[in-house]
Symmetry: C3
Subunit: 236 residues, 3 copies
């Protein structure tokens, strides 16, 4: 265990063997951190947060010469709000905010500048790209891939292994990158595929394995490849 002298540690905090806590980290009362974790500079862990083993918090983004997206050099510190639970073998980058009571399962990877609301669940091995916004009381199940610049509202359910993309032209350098928008209450079946910048309407349902190439109306259901309406609420 190696805690930098500048770290602020609240009352009743538990820190596991082998964990390294860098400069300027703030740890709230009753927080618990597992073994062999690496808490990078300036990370803010609020009260009652529980963190598993071998987890890395506050990682800085890097890139190689080819990558289009240059990492921001002015990221705020990673903040984990009250009573959130973070699993083992997790990696969360700088510039991200995890809401209170939110559950991040084992082996999850969350990039920089992501915002996750309150009481949301992110399943094991889910991968969340930069600049994505996820609401409250939402469930993103195990193995999902959430692309960059995606908006997922409140009370959304995304089944296991769903995949998204945000680049119509697949790295040709043309056009903007925009992920899907998934409105409140929408439900997406497991292993569904969502194309860039489509909108899944409020309370819409996407069937398991569907390949969604167009917007889906609110309260409607789509299935198949390409996805077609099984039930269409309206054309609004």
């Amino acid at each position: 265990m190696e805690i930098h002298h500048s770290v602020k540690v609240g009352e009743g905090v538990k820190i596991g063997k082998g964990t390294v806590i860098e400069e300027g980290v703030v740890i709230g009362n009753q927080a618990e951190i597992g073994m062999n974790c690496i808490i990078k500079k300036g990370t803010k862990i609020n009260q009652g947060v529980i963190i598993g083993d071998l987890t890395i918090l506050g990682k800085s983004p890097t890139s190689n010469r080819k990558m289009a997206r240059r990492p921001s050099t002015t990221l705020t510190e990673l903040t984990i709000a009250d009573n959130a639970r973070i699993g083992s073998h997790v990696i969360i980058y700088k510039g991200t905010v995890i809401g209170k009571d939110t559950f991040i399962a084992d082996q999850v990877s969350i990039r920089e500048e992501v915002t996750i609301g309150e009481s949301t669940v992110i399943g094991r091995q889910a991968m969340i790209e930069p600049k994505t916004i996820i609401g409250s009381n939402t469930t993103i199940q195990t193995g999902c891939y959430i692309t960059a610049d995606t908006i997922i509202e409140d009370r959304v359910f995304i089944g296991p292994c769903c995949s998204m993309s945000n680049d119509k032209h697949m790295a040709s350098g043309k056009g903007l990158h925009t992920g899907p928008v998934i409105r409140s209450g929408a439900k997406i079946g497991n292993n569904a595929t969502l194309l860039p910048s489509i909108i899944i309407g409020e309370n819409a349902i996407v069937g398991a394995g569907a390949v969604v190439t167009k917007d889906v109306n609110e309260k409607s259901t789509v299935v198949g490849n390409p996805a077609r309406y099984l039930k269409k609420d309206s054309d609004n």
Copy 2:
């Protein structure tokens, strides 16, 4: 290396640098444990078992306030039977039994109350949810998602990246959660999607990328989205 004084260590056991072994763990003869592992309280590692680096065995489940499934508080200890091989960066929970000669590859995640038979192979990054039963001589390839309450019998082959679900109503609180049943000798192609509670018959074949919404007869083949019979053995 930090081994609790109550740990029973067999003959010829090797334990890597930085590994922590908690109270009441039992390690059989000739077992090998890698570096920086965390072996939680009471885990039973039988003779000849080989474990990679940075692996966590015997983790206890947790939850947040939103999650429907409350973790059991009366789980038995994780047991790894004779000569099983466990990779690196693996996480296996309490209450699970790994059969003898079974191979669990790197970065796999196995939850509580899972039973895996003998000489089975679980590929890298596979994710296995609670209360699932997997037989002997079965192969679950890399990146598969096996949902909770699933039954997979003997000599089954599940190709890479297959996905399942166990909740028809997608977290609406209605109905029971039941995963698929996959009978002996069935083969599932890569990236197939299986819906909740369907039965894949003995020696049936599911094509790669198929989306299986109904039961599949034994010895029959289905392909497509939704999956349709390419070859149908009988209507029994």
Copy 3:
């Protein structure tokens, strides 16, 4: 930190706390290695390489009694060429070569005897099987599964969560195992499924969620399940 006395360390090298560096490892000038990493025997890390935390380099393959593919016992050492960047929680096996300026993201798993060219990007949690060859300036996005014995040429783009297989008979012991061949400049949409030994022609496009069961002509576009031509360049 534990560095074997035989390790050759260049000028200006940084090595993180808790990292173990085994016999015969060679580390070039200005290389940086994170915390709690395990660098296995003989691994060659060239100048300017940057490696994250909790990463394992140079792992030796193992198997159980059931597995068809016996690990080679004569693997060369893992080599990471100049200025490559390797993420955190990564596992790369022996006998593999990572080209210069290549970027390997967090939680990636790369098996033995894989060759990756220069300035290529391998996204987070990608899984790459043995004996696969990947060219230069290629992007394999997050969560992709690249099967064994696959050839991916230069300037290829593979979207997130794509899946492949290399065994038509699904472990029946019949036939050769051959992965797909993906020619230069081809682009594969997210969550596409590729069957064994198919050829994706030069500059061809595979739509998101497509299930590709046959060869795809150069400069042509396929979509759907099974994939059909949306645009066909020629029948050559």
